[in-house]
Every structure is written in structure tokens, then in C-alpha cells.
């Protein structure tokens, strides 16, 4: 566990010294809310539309972070460092996944508040506990799949093309779960109960891809 913590601290330190991913994801999210306001021609959204706008925005913002996730490793020889060190390669998967999870969480703290201010019709407070559960499960999905896809794409010729092409279809089930699950929370007449069906879909997705990432990540780091 200690190597993962050290690698995670390195990533957090890098992001603190030279903020790159988080500000970009954040600005992107808020800009996208503005774009949605004009594109949909609506001052306020609620229900399924609100859930869709929020989740799609977070998904595309995550793609930005996924694109950058391994850039320092690739450019500064971090992969060689991990391979030379006497540690399990899974440590890198855990550290990078945790870093992405934390980045996404920080972005969401501001982005969800901005969404509530700018676009959301009904009051955000009753929706908050349910939304928290959904966002944690969604972030887990984005972090595992994102780390895998980022490691897969980082050493290809067309990194920035491969990441969205592969990640977006792969994340469709997670998007279905999150968007459909969050819809009743934003219902016009006040938040309704959280549907367990969608939490189950999200949790199943997290479990399958978590195990899968653990099984195949080593093969992406062999040279």
C-alpha cells in the first residue's frame, strides 16, 4: 500500500505545484453549462434533462483529465521509475485511479454547485445525499476505466484521439446508470427516492471493471 500512497502524493503534489487538470476540467464544466443554456434554450432544467446535462458534462470533463493522466510518466520517465522500483505494478494503477478519483471529486464540488446556481430548477438540497452516492459510484467507474484507457492510449501515436473514442462507448453503461439514477433526484416536484436499480447497475459496472483493471493493467506496463 505504501508505494501507492507515495505515487498518489507525487501526483497530488504535481497538481498543486502546477495546477493543470483540475482547473481545465472545472472551466470546461462551467463553460459547458453555459453552452447547454444556449443550446437547449432553457433557463432552468429539471428531471431527466437536468441529470443528463450534469452527467454528460462531467463525463466530457473527465475525458480531459483522462487524457492528461499519464503525461508526466510518459514525458519524464515515470514508467521506467515504477518498473525499476521493487514494487508491484498494481501500485501505479491504484495511485493513478485514486488521483483521478480525487480530481473528479474536487471538480464536482464546484461544478455541481455551479450547476445548481446556473441551470437547476428545483432546490438542490433534498437531492444532495442521493446525488453524493451516485457521484461516488460514477467517479469510481470513471477512475478505473479512465486509468485503463489512459494507460492504453498514452504510448500510441494518436493519444488524444484514442482516449475519447475508446472511453466514451466503454462508459455508456455508467452514464446510463448515473443519468437515469439522478433523474428522480432533480424531479420538478422535489427530490424523489433514489432508484436502487440504477445504483446496482453502477455498482456492477464498478466491480467488473475494477477486477478487470486489476487483471490486465500489468500488461500495459511491460516495456
Amino acid at each position: 500500500m505504501r508505494p501507492s500512497v507515495a505515487l498518489l502524493r507525487k501526483d497530488l503534489l504535481l497538481e498543486r505545484r502546477a495546477p493543470e487538470s483540475i482547473p481545465a476540467m472545472l472551466l470546461f464544466s462551467i463553460t459547458t453549462f453555459v453552452l447547454f443554456h444556449f443550446a437547449l434554450g432553457r433557463d432552468q432544467v429539471e428531471g431527466q434533462l437536468a441529470a443528463g446535462v450534469l452527467v454528460v458534462t462531467l463525463l466530457f470533463a473527465a475525458i480531459l483529465g483522462i487524457n492528461r493522466l499519464f503525461v508526466s510518466e510518459q514525458e519524464e520517465g515515470g514508467f521506467d521509475g515504477v518498473l525499476l522500483a521493487p514494487i508491484d505494478r498494481t501500485a501505479l494503477l491504484i495511485a493513478k485511479g485514486a488521483a483521478l478519483f480525487l480530481f473528479l471529486t474536487l471538480v464536482e464540488v464546484v461544478a455541481v454547485a455551479a450547476f445548481a446556481l446556473l441551470l437547476l430548477g428545483p432546490s438542490p438540497w433534498p437531492a444532495l445525499p442521493g446525488l453524493l452516492v451516485i457521484l461516488v459510484l460514477l467517479n469510481l467507474a470513471l477512475a478505473t476505466v479512465g486509468t485503463l484507457v489512459s494507460a492504453l492510449a498514452i504510448r500510441t501515436r494518436a493519444r488524444d484521439l484514442i482516449v475519447p473514442m475508446v472511453a466514451l462507448p466503454l462508459l455508456v453503461p455508467a452514464l446510463i446508470g448515473a443519468a437515469r439514477g439522478a433523474a428522480p433526484l432533480f424531479a420538478a416536484g422535489g427530490a424523489e427516492a433514489l432508484p436502487t436499480k440504477w445504483l446496482a447497475v453502477l455498482a456492477l459496472y464498478d466491480l467488473v471493471f475494477g477486477l478487470l483493471a486489476y487483471a490486465v493493467f500489468d500488461f500495459l506496463l511491460e516495456d
Partner: protein, 264 residues
């Protein structure tokens, strides 16, 4: 030396396809509801079933490649996914035709099988670009295998999620609760599935034999004419089967392991 049994497989496929179409047109009864257009069912559904099974099979071959490091599994995984992608396009087209004829629209969102089939197509369509963007053949094979495993596991997961998301589910043609298909239809459908599986296996065998023959020919040329006479392998999404120029074998094992690379 390659393509053993291809002739027998070709004849069997031809016979099965002929039998299928004969049964479809002259034996299977007309559907009371949909009439003649329902016959596309005997093409569309077998194609779709074979596609999805082939994707999972591609993932199994990819896992075997990662386990054994044998290039032949990468070749099989590549070929299976390649042909499955072609079947996938065919399945989407026949599905759209059937949807237009029986529901009046080229595309319907409340048919979960069709929707998840499209999403699976969108994912597997990135398999070739991914391979093409990695130049080193060994890494290309390894990364493609990782992708194939992820995508293979995605197929059932995606189906569950999309099916849960559809508001109403159309009655299944194969539904067992209402008695299902009449016997003649079921028999024709069974033969159609067998024929489509044979067709898939045949196309895969032809592609594998063609690829192996091409690389064998390169290796022979190199041995007879010298290494310079054979153009180096260009960028390609297809798996490479020959070793470095000096060895010139059919399928060479991996060479020169990186010292930093510990066997896992």
C-alpha cells in the same frame, strides 16, 4: 501447409447456407403478424448472435495471448474481431430494414438488443484504429489483447444496462412464456444459426490462412533473395507473424527481452 480442411469447410458452409435459404423460403410458415418481411429474422438474428459470441471469443483468444505469449492467439483474436465487425455492420443493416418494415422506422430506441448492438459496434470499431496507432508489433499485440479483453467483458455488461434502461421491452420472438415459435420456424432458425456459424468460421479460416501464407511467402523470399529484396513491413493494424529479418521463420517468438521487464 496452411488452410487444412478449408475445402471441406467451404462445402459444408455452402450446403448449410443453401439448406437455410431453401427452408426459409419454401418450408418455414409465413408469420401471421408480419408476413413475408419476418423472413429477414433468419438472417438478422443468427448474424447478431454470432457477432456477440465472436466478440467474447475474441476476448478469450486475447487472454490466451497474454497468458502464453503465443502470437497465433493474437492473430486469431484479430481475425475473429475483424470478421465479427463485418457481421456487426450486416446485423445493424438487416436490423434497420426489419425495423422499417415492421415498426415503420429505420431506428427504434426502445429495442434494447438493437441499441446495445450499436454501442458494441461503436466500441469495437476502435479496435483497428488502436492497433494502427501502435507501431511496435509486440506492443501492438499486447495492447490490442488488453483492449479485446475489456471490450469482451463490456458486451454482457452493456446489454444489462441498456435493457434496464428501455421503457418497454418488445415481446421476444423466441419468448418461451407464450409458447415460442412453431416447430417449423424453430427448426429453420436452428439450421440458420448453424449455417451462419459455419460461414463465420469459414471466413475466419480463410483470413488466417491468407495471412499465414503471406508471411510464409515473405520469409521464403527473404531467404532466397536476401533481406534487402523484401520491403520492410509498413504500418499496419494486422498482426505481424514474422520475426526480425535475419531469422526469417514462419512465426518467430519474441526476441530480446528488456532487462527491466520481469516475468509477471
Amino acid at each position: 501447409m496452411y488452410g487444412k480442411g478449408l475445402r471441406a469447410l467451404t462445402l459444408a458452409t455452402f450446403a448449410a447456407m443453401t439448406a437455410t435459404f431453401a427452408l426459409v423460403f419454401f418450408y418455414a410458415p409465413l408469420d401471421a403478424d408480419q408476413g413475408f418481411i419476418q423472413k429477414i429474422f433468419y438472417v438478422h438474428v443468427p448474424v447478431a448472435i454470432v457477432t456477440l459470441i465472436a466478440y467474447v471469443l475474441g476476448a478469450v483468444f486475447a487472454a490466451l495471448h497474454l497468458r502464453t505469449r503465443d502470437r497465433k492467439w493474437d492473430l486469431r483474436s484479430y481475425v475473429v474481431i475483424h470478421i465479427a465487425l463485418i457481421f456487426n455492420v450486416l446485423g445493424l443493416l438487416t436490423g434497420a430494414i426489419w425495423a422499417k418494415a415492421s415498426w415503420g422506422h429505420w431506428w427504434v430506441w426502445d429495442e434494447p438488443t438493437l441499441v446495445s448492438y450499436l454501442i458494441v459496434f461503436l466500441l469495437f470499431a476502435t479496435y483497428q484504429p488502436l492497433r494502427f496507432s501502435i507501431e511496435d508489433p509486440e506492443r501492438q499485440a499486447r495492447y490490442a489483447s488488453v483492449f479485446a479483453i475489456m471490450a469482451g467483458a463490456f458486451v454482457p455488461l452493456n446489454f444489462i444496462a441498456v435493457r434496464a434502461a428501455s421503457a418497454y421491452v418488445h415481446p421476444r420472438v423466441l419468448a418461451t412464456s407464450e409458447g415460442g415459435m412453431p416447430g417449423e420456424m424453430a427448426f429453420t432458425f436452428l439450421i440458420a444459426i448453424i449455417a451462419m456459424t459455419l460461414l463465420f468460421a469459414l471466413l475466419c479460416s480463410y483470413e488466417i490462412a491468407a495471412k499465414q501464407t503471406r508471411w510464409q511467402l515473405r520469409a521464403l523470399r527473404r531467404r532466397v533473395l536476401g533481406g534487402e529484396a523484401v520491403a520492410p513491413r509498413g504500418r499496419s493494424a494486422a498482426p505481424a507473424l514474422d520475426g526480425p529479418p535475419s531469422r526469417g521463420g514462419g512465426s518467430a517468438p519474441r526476441t530480446a527481452r528488456n532487462p527491466a521487464e520481469a516475468p509477471s
